[in-house]
């Protein structure tokens, strides 16, 4: 990813807007963009979703492979989650090996899903010590207008919730749905014009500072946190964000359940 030249004018403009408690696209501070979630949209994937948040569009696809369980966990399958942001998604994304930004994206989404324990890895075992399912979640950006984190996380969990284990194709039994016991949801906040806002657009990311990502489970349990980019934040600011995340994750969870 090339670092775009941050236009000083944009930064100044975002600062002025913030002073009047306004945002560049007219939203209020805690308001998300228009959201569309569809599932089972990709015929070759065992589970899939497409999420659109404003002009940000992403796909998530679930594939299964048979793996040999790790020697120290002979009764467990595994989850692998990777994110790819290719040049199709925006003029500042470039071809080549995965950039640190896209690796961070994949890992933060992965931790939220993995640590929530929503996938029972013991149930993925086929023959102890020999065969187990590996669930592979691929996140793929089509259009980046900011906040790929939340779009990826929402598409990812939606795709997993609608996935089918293709046991017949691998000749190890009958197809069955992948069972998920929880629905972890991520909310992301960016500092723009000096204060934190929810669901930053591309321009707000470009003219903003640090970001904070929070993944909460069904009972508001915290499953992953990440602070990204240069910046300093206070405990009070974090408390305000966390309280919004508690409300917003419930709304989003209802939307995809």
């Amino acid at each position: 990813m090339t670092i775009p030249i941050v236009p000083k004018l944009l930064r100044a403009h975002l600062g002025e807007l913030a002073a009047n408690d306004a945002r560049i696209d007219g939203r209020d501070r805690w308001e998300g963009r228009e959201l569309e979630v569809e599932h089972s949209v990709l015929p070759r994937a065992e589970g899939s979703a497409r999420v659109r948040m404003g002009d940000t569009i992403v796909f998530a696809g679930v594939k299964f492979q048979i793996m040999q369980p790790y020697p120290d966990r002979p009764n467990q399958g595994g989850l692998m989650c990777s994110a790819e942001v290719r040049p199709i998604a925006g003029r500042h994304w470039e071809a080549g090996p995965p950039s640190p930004e896209s690796i961070e994206l994949g890992r933060v989404v992965d931790r939220g899903i993995r640590e929530s324990g929503c996938i029972d890895v013991d149930s993925l075992c086929i023959i102890p010590g020999e065969k187990a399912w590996q669930v592979i979640l691929d996140l793929f950006a089509i259009s980046d207008d900011g906040n790929l984190f939340d779009a990826f996380a929402l598409a990812g969990i939606t795709a997993l919730r609608n996935a089918t284990i293709p046991a017949e194709r691998f000749e190890v039994g009958e197809d069955e749905p992948l069972m998920l016991s929880k629905t972890p949801i991520m909310c992301s906040y960016h500092r723009v014009g000096g204060r934190f806002i929810y669901d930053a657009s591309g321009r707000e990311e470009l003219g903003g500072d640090e970001r904070i990502h929070i993944t909460l489970g069904d009972d508001d349990n915290v499953h992953s946190l990440q602070k990204g980019l240069k910046g300093i934040f206070t405990a009070d600011e974090f408390e305000e964000i966390m309280s919004h995340a508690c409300d917003r994750t419930k709304e989003l969870r209802k939307l995809i359940s």
Partner: protein, 239 residues
């Protein structure tokens, strides 16, 4: 080409596994403006193939060594998403996608008026999110719609169609099952207004007569697809 001649893929009435006649193409939808942050874009479904193409530019060509003083360069990348195939496609470098990117670039550079934009670059990203058979044709065709959507001047759009042979019968636009048992594949990139070609590949085994038939099927199908491309560019979605 598989060439398993004993598998019957065409019934006694001459109909194919999905009910098409030998010269019929699969169902196609075309939509533009699907990547809001791009300068031009196209989503094309063709059977259960789905390609999404974004065009960025003309913009500064960098690194500088790729610049041409008298014309623009096209930076074409064809890629299959990891979930686009039955067995997961591992992301990263792959000889097949490099070759398809190159022949697609060669085809498109033959129609884009490159000399209008010296020292610049036009980036064309072709992403296959669902693959059936014939993804290179879908990618190239969708790329010309995306270029037109971006307002890039071209002498004509490229329509790419493939015909092949199963059970010794020449048919147009092979689907996945037919492709598995196919005995030949002839993809072509056709300029529908002049009938000229900018892309041609072939593998398999065709007699001179069969080759002529496959060629004619492609030429006819290109006209049908071209009408849909024009409809989509004139407004909204085309079925």
């Amino acid at each position: 080409m598989g060439g398993y001649g004993d598998v019957q893929m065409i019934d006694e009435n001459g109909l194919r596994v999905d009910g098409r006649g030998p010269g019929d193409i699969r169902e196609i939808t075309i939509e533009t403006g699907v990547v809001p942050v791009a300068d031009g874009s196209c989503r094309m479904t063709w059977g259960t193939n789905e390609a999404i193409v974004a065009v960025y530019g003309p913009m500064e060509a960098h690194p500088r060594k790729i610049q041409r003083q008298d014309r623009a360069v096209l930076d074409v990348a064809y890629n299959m998403a990891p979930f686009s195939t039955t067995d997961r496609m591992r992301p990263g470098f792959n000889r097949r996608s490099r070759e398809i990117s190159k022949v697609t670039k060669d085809a498109l550079e033959s129609v884009v008026l490159l000399e209008l934009y010296p020292r610049s670059k036009i980036r064309i990203s072709i992403e296959i999110v669902s693959a059936e058979a014939g993804t290179r044709c879908v990618g190239l065709t969708a790329a010309s719609v995306a270029l037109a959507d971006a307002g890039i001047p071209m002498t004509d759009m490229v329509v790419s169609v493939a015909s092949g042979k199963i059970n010794d019968i020449v048919v147009c636009d092979l689907n996945k099952e037919e492709d598995n048992y196919g005995e030949a594949d002839l993809p072509m990139g056709i300029l529908p207004n002049s009938g000229e070609l900018v892309f041609l590949q072939m593998d398999g085994d065709l007699s001179q007569e069969e080759f002529k038939q496959a060629w004619d099927y492609n030429m006819e199908a290109a006209q049908v697809v071209h009408e849909m491309m024009v409809d989509a560019l004139k407004g909204g979605e085309s079925q």
